[in-house]
Symmetry: D2
Subunit: 299 residues, 4 copies
């Protein structure tokens, strides 16, 4: 398991009654597996993992594993608020065939999440997990910031192989690369910072829009890796308006509306989230129309 | 169910292996039921509800109901990130005998939590819940702020009977009282603002330290209600150092250490939280020593 | 100089070319001096002090002193970013007849503003100032929070007689009262928290809307002080919508539009601030119409 | 005036009585002018401009102009809180020979600083300034964020030639480059993001540490511009620990201590800032020792 390249954290399809829709999930997986993506992440933030119970989570992982050939890395989100629950979810994910787990920081008791507490939490999880662990820092959502110093300590654990950093502070990405071994993979979690992160030594990205425009993301990655910087910069600029719209502005509902518009049926989000309103969907379609790889379905 | 007075959101005892400890819970409940507290809240933030799975949650409610006479209001925290899961938890809590449920705002997708989204979420929950619903706003933890305008809309729902506001902004408390009907109970969620909230028309409080110093909290409430303002102010000042220490500074671990020091055995917190270090426990004991109702157990 | 009661931090009138308008200032002062206000503050935040140069500042103080009888306390804002400049401004204000100075925390280099740095800054100013000094904490504007611990240290200085706290956290007000001597006056800086602050032992308030509805503010103060809590609460509730509108929402431009609407001509704000748009002025007038003491001038 | 390359925002030397020290300034300027820096910025944030009165500001600009050959661009910070004062300062700077002015956003009334207000402010300044204007966004200090949309509007003004963006969000830098004409220079204001900003099309940087390690900054710039990305990345990594230490951690006092340690005597900061404590100076010296171009003076 070498987490270098472009990973898509895929959404979890729901039907009109907000139930996990396994048929839609299978169809969408079949589509993603024809793309040049390096691998898939299930049950990430954009997978609405916080809305799923443990049984639903297991079904999503099992379905994804079944559909995904063993050569294609499958990573499962298993972060929970309690350390014990995270350990149990990681063990189950491994049993169901995940190649690695990605564990976001607990955040409910954020004022208590010191470096020491987080290092202890991740060490217990990494000790117990049968598959490698990726750290996952998403301060905008959790209110917790996993510091470079804490990451440097955790990078020494043999079962901690990398990290997804979703913040936009490129200086932190540089510090993470600088204070961890070569073998530790720092992955950008924000498409707007992807090219800059690669310039500074990031190993790849886990990008929400990679499930929507995989070609554009992978071509950017390749251009940056081989040193075609003009191409990489121009591809990066093309991605930013889409990333801004589907990240901070419309969120999961926006991503689902975009995928539906592009012919990849992922249904609606689960409440309290609501489907994207029509006017917003039109705005999303306008941005999507700029991408060659997308064929918009008629409304 | 008339939520006026002083409610204690009780901690959930764990044993040394971090399992829910029903025996300790029963013993602690017996103790709290001898106090002048108006009622109890199980599975609140300080009950470490985010660390419990659904089965554990049910056992805590059932145990509390068994121990609590029907005259003593029992409120259960049933907020989950998804609307569906909140509905299911509320129905189960009602079946298990809770007199009301208290539902904190979802927060994971905070940028999407507009007034409309939150009103829709709570309306679905209130429609479905067999027992009355209390709103619960805790911005410091969830990153979401339930606005006075949204509360005013929800206060018109016949099954929404009140709200716990944990923020320290007394102007917001005044607005909440002012824009909701007399019958809607605004409850302070922060012991440092309790007296000021009562002055402005709050109906009572749901105060973490009420499980520790119930006498002091109830005496403050009574003094304020009958207009003994000098006494109320002086009792309020006495509570502040304790509330500051056990709220923002030491959190749940501090509250558990304090209860253990006062002879009410509630065990340790669940990981990633860690038991309070010894030096911090000494600081807590120093503040506790100022309360007549507390007899410190030897260390 | 005993800063107890209700103080109005008055706006600085500008003419249509944004010059300090001494004639308008004199006329407005004459009006304020017929009200039951305890005293006046010139060159506060709402006085647009940051827009005035040193000569303009001096003219405002001199004009106010000339108009204000010696029995009516006149306080001048003299906070500057540098310690030296604050000392010089305080000395000049004293020469020009100010009874006291009010000094907001420096904020430009906010990450360096530790307790020690702020205690040093205020101690140098208090040593040098010929008239008593009031501390002034306005975190929403400066990004700096003067802590209760720092205030407790400064309250021991014989020339530091009180503090204006503009934050809405009533728990902090209670701590400030609790950790300073009786003689140290804690003044609320936010009209939405005024009654609650008085309940907890505050000595009064420095309230932007006191220049607009002095009667309402002073009657609230008197009711709270003598223990007519029902009246105080009801007056407090009346003030909140006005305070919200003119504080966080419309700011100085809103206050000036409100005063102009009430027949007290204070002109326009200085750029980059712009006069309040017409629709917003209508909203302000709607709220003003609820106050008996206000006679709206025709538009 | 073409603001491409590496600019040093130089500190303002003070003597032991905190007076502007023109002799020290001249000596330091002579030193900076032997380096490969593209140009100098006086009266920036790190120049402690907020501590200087108008006369002191003028002397600093005049001294810098006298020392700086006409081929070396000299930029003066002229941002004030009021629009009028900013216009006046910009005119004086131009008279004193500044080649351009750099104007930070006003911030005191931050809640009122909408896009429209900021566009109006900068348009008035740009209309009036005899020399070209650079926008300057420093949200961490001002609390105001000049949005890409506002910048796009201002970039159409013929006298607005570029912008310094001090935030670390590389996605915003990319948007700024993308939504402004080729001729508009986006300059990084944070040394930790310098290389990434250049990758995304930034024209250069205004970097506090450029006054300390000009060689290292200019070599990074050249490597990035000609496409020696491995060298650029490695130079970027070398700069980060120094930039972190002298930016968010020790600030101006740290920069002055570092320059003094490197033999460039710039005296102490002005109060309320205090000289860097000895232990912190030792930490700074340790990081400085890693740079070839620095010869530490004995302590």
């Amino acid at each position: 398991m070498n987490p270098r390249g472009v990973f898509a954290p895929i959404p979890t399809p729901f039907d009109d009654d907000e139930r996990v829709d396994i048929a839609r999930l299978r169809a969408a997986l079949a589509r993603w597996l024809t793309t040049p993506l390096t691998g898939l992440v299930v049950l990430g933030s954009n997978g609405e993992a916080v809305f799923l119970d443990e049984l639903e989570s297991d079904r999503v992982i099992a379905t994804a594993r079944e559909a995904t050939p063993s050569g294609c890395p499958l990573i499962a989100g298993t972060g929970r608020e309690s350390t014990q629950a995270t350990v149990r979810a990681s063990r189950r994910a491994a049993e169901l065939g995940a190649d690695a787990v990605i564990v976001r920081t607990p955040g409910f008791f954020r004022t208590q999440m010191t470096d020491d507490v987080l290092v202890r939490h991740y060490s217990i999880v990494a000790d117990a997990s049968p598959v490698p662990v990726l750290l996952y820092n998403f301060t905008a959502v959790t209110g917790v910031d996993l510091s470079p110093a804490a990451v440097a300590r955790l990078a020494r654990h043999p079962n901690v192989i990398g990290m997804k950093e979703s913040g936009g502070d490129i200086g932190k990405i540089a510090q993470l690369v600088d204070t961890t071994p070569e073998s530790f993979a720092v992955l950008a979690g924000s498409a707007t910072t992807f090219y800059a992160a690669l310039c500074l030594g990031a190993a790849g990205g886990v990008l929400a829009i990679a499930s929507l425009v995989p070609e554009a993301c992978v071509r950017l990655y390749e251009a940056a890796i081989v040193g075609r910087h003009d191409e990489a910069r121009s591809r990066q600029r093309q991605l930013i308006p889409l990333a801004r719209l589907l990240g901070p502005v419309y969120g999961v509902a926006g991503l689902k509306a975009a995928l539906n518009s592009a012919g990849c049926d992922v249904g609606i989000p689960r409440g309290p989230l609501v489907p994207l309103p029509d006017t917003a969907t039109m705005a999303v379609r306008d941005v999507l129309a700029r991408f060659d790889e997308i064929s918009l379905v008629p409304r």
